[in-house]
Amino acid sequence: DVKVTQSSRYLVKRTGEKVFLECVQDMDHENMFWYRQDPGLGLRLIYFSYDVKMKEKGDIPEGYSVSREKKERFSLILESASTNQTSMYLCASSFDIRVNTEAFFGQGTRLTVV
């Protein structure tokens, strides 16, 4: 079974803290994604990467950065957490879209910034 593992299910952080969300996939997928899920807004793409050390901005990159030093690991970084970043964060991975279009999601990290 394909597995996308997010390091934490729940996190509570203080405003201004630097926050790291980690994601690991075990299927040698080329592509990895970070989404944010909020009620009524659906899944919004923050950043994605289709190769090691490659990254591209998604629809809402402000306040976030990412790191992909190894193929299996994609980290989302909140440089200075703010209360409006309280949300569910979902990591996903997929093969090259031309080969297989299915995206596999982790279970999500519910982040609360207080």
Binding site: G40, G42, L43, F48, E56, A92, I97, R98, E102, G106
Partner: protein, 116 residues
């Protein structure tokens, strides 16, 4: 032009009824239309998908209907069950492109509740 519009935002259906969720898109180049199902506390998972060269695809109680001329597609859940209660996302993408052009464009989701 990159949006996928999904409706309704929420849906309540009695057990045994038919659940229908609709999506519309603008980009005529989209060529792959998947539906994802998300249970509470879980990440979304691929449920069923369709290419525009067919008008309908059925897998068990789940059917996608596709209307290329209207740029619309819909998910029908026949004989809906309480276990189908979840959030459903439609999506669209350009299958033959790599990189960012191949990213999935998601609708905003429909929260389905099936009452016993």
């Amino acid at each position: 032009q990159q949006q996928v519009k999904q409706s309704p935002q929420s849906l309540i259906v009695q057990k045994g009824g038919i659940s229908i969720i609709n999506c519309a898109y603008e980009n005529t180049a989209f060529d792959y239309f998947p539906w994802y199902q998300q249970f509470p506390g879980k990440g979304p998972a691929l449920l069923i998908a369709i290419r525009p060269d067919v008008s309908e695809k059925k897998e068990g109680r789940f059917t996608i209907s596709f209307n290329k001329s209207a740029k619309q597609f819909s998910l029908h859940i026949m004989d809906s069950q309480p276990g189908d209660s979840a959030t459903y996302f439609c999506a669209a993408t350009l299958k033959n492109y790599g990189g960012s052009q191949g990213n999935l464009i998601f609708g905003k989701g429909t929260k389905l509740s099936v009452k016993p």
